[in-house]
């Protein structure tokens, strides 16, 4: 059954704050082989003008995906997560995510479409500090593969 387009425009309640740690950033940087000292060494990051270690640009997925699970597993949406593949992704950084940030995210459903038996859903996640400073906008388009697609 196709996803219900009336979900377009729906927003979800803000997530619990996510505490960004140096160690999680390092773990993520290791997993993608990112070597910049700004991801690993607080002194090096400060010398580059950052408050602390910064995160690689794709790190925001750690924060946004946690939030987007609220959408994926919204029982009213009836989305079959076992058939989901990632279609496209964007990250707009107002500033780098930085160790010590406490981030709150809000998920919005921007689009729901169907094509050739597949459903596509675009979730925009606005990531801000607990003090309300907008840090990153992450947009994920997910494809729910149809049974016969």
């Amino acid at each position: 059954m196709p996803l219900d387009p009336s979900f377009i425009g729906r927003s979800y309640p803000p997530s619990q704050p996510y505490d960004v740690s140096r160690e999680k950033i390092r773990e993520f940087a290791d997993a993608i082989g990112a070597t910049s000292p700004a991801y690993r060494d607080a002194e090096a990051a400060k010398a580059l003008g950052h408050r602390d270690v910064i995160a690689p640009p794709t790190f925001a997925i750690v924060v946004s995906m946690k939030t987007n699970e609220t959408v994926m597993f919204d029982p009213e949406l009836k989305l079959d997560y076992s058939r989901v593949v990632h279609g496209d992704q964007s990250f707009t950084h107002h500033r780098p995510i930085t160790a010590g940030d406490q981030l709150v995210s809000v998920a919005h459903i921007d689009a729901v479409t169907s094509r050739m038996g597949n459903d596509m859903i675009t979730v925009r996640t606005e990531i801000s500090t607990v003090d309300g400073e907008l840090v990153t906008t992450a947009k994920s388009m997910l494809v729910v593969r149809g049974e016969d697609a």
Binding site: E27, I32, A34, I54, M65, G87
Partner: protein, 144 residues
């Protein structure tokens, strides 16, 4: 610092050095843990095949994370990525062996808004198959 991007004055049309990245099952498991993306299509052949994939596939954002290294290593630590996007044109099937697959990443500068913004179009190929499309990144230069 003499070898920062600022000093190299890139122009539209400048090509980044091509980079190759290998992805193995080990990388997928590690990335799953680091990212929190435990979708079984990234570690379980049966789950992947159930939805019509030939086997376990790489996380799209892992591919993005590898591709952007080509950009970061070229630009140096004074640049930060302020915008980055990609469409996952084809899934990257990662075989259950020790060799994995090799992805080739290229980038071309498409726009320079001097002094501090550089836009780069990115592509990634697996053999002749384009795996990242509609991909670009915008770098902002920091003082230094």
């Amino acid at each position: 610092m003499t070898d920062t991007l600022t000093h190299r004055s890139p122009e539209a049309g400048t090509r980044l050095p091509d980079r190759t990245f290998t992805i193995t099952r080990h990388d997928l498991v590690r990335y799953a843990g680091a990212s929190g993306d435990f979708n079984p299509i990234h570690w379980n052949d049966r789950s992947a095949q159930r939805i019509g994939l030939s086997g376990v596939v790489a996380h799209g954002v892992l591919t993005m994370g590898l591709a952007v290294r080509a950009l970061e290593d070229w630009a140096g630590p004074h640049a930060v990525v302020v915008d980055y996007r990609a469409a996952f044109a084809q899934p990257i099937t990662v075989p259950d062996d020790d060799t994995g697959v090799t992805v080739v990443v290229s980038g071309t500068v498409t726009d320079v808004q001097w002094p501090d913004r550089v836009r780069v179009r990115m592509t990634a190929h697996l053999g002749t198959t384009k795996v990242l499309t509609r991909s670009y990144a915008v770098l902002a230069m920091r003082a230094g």
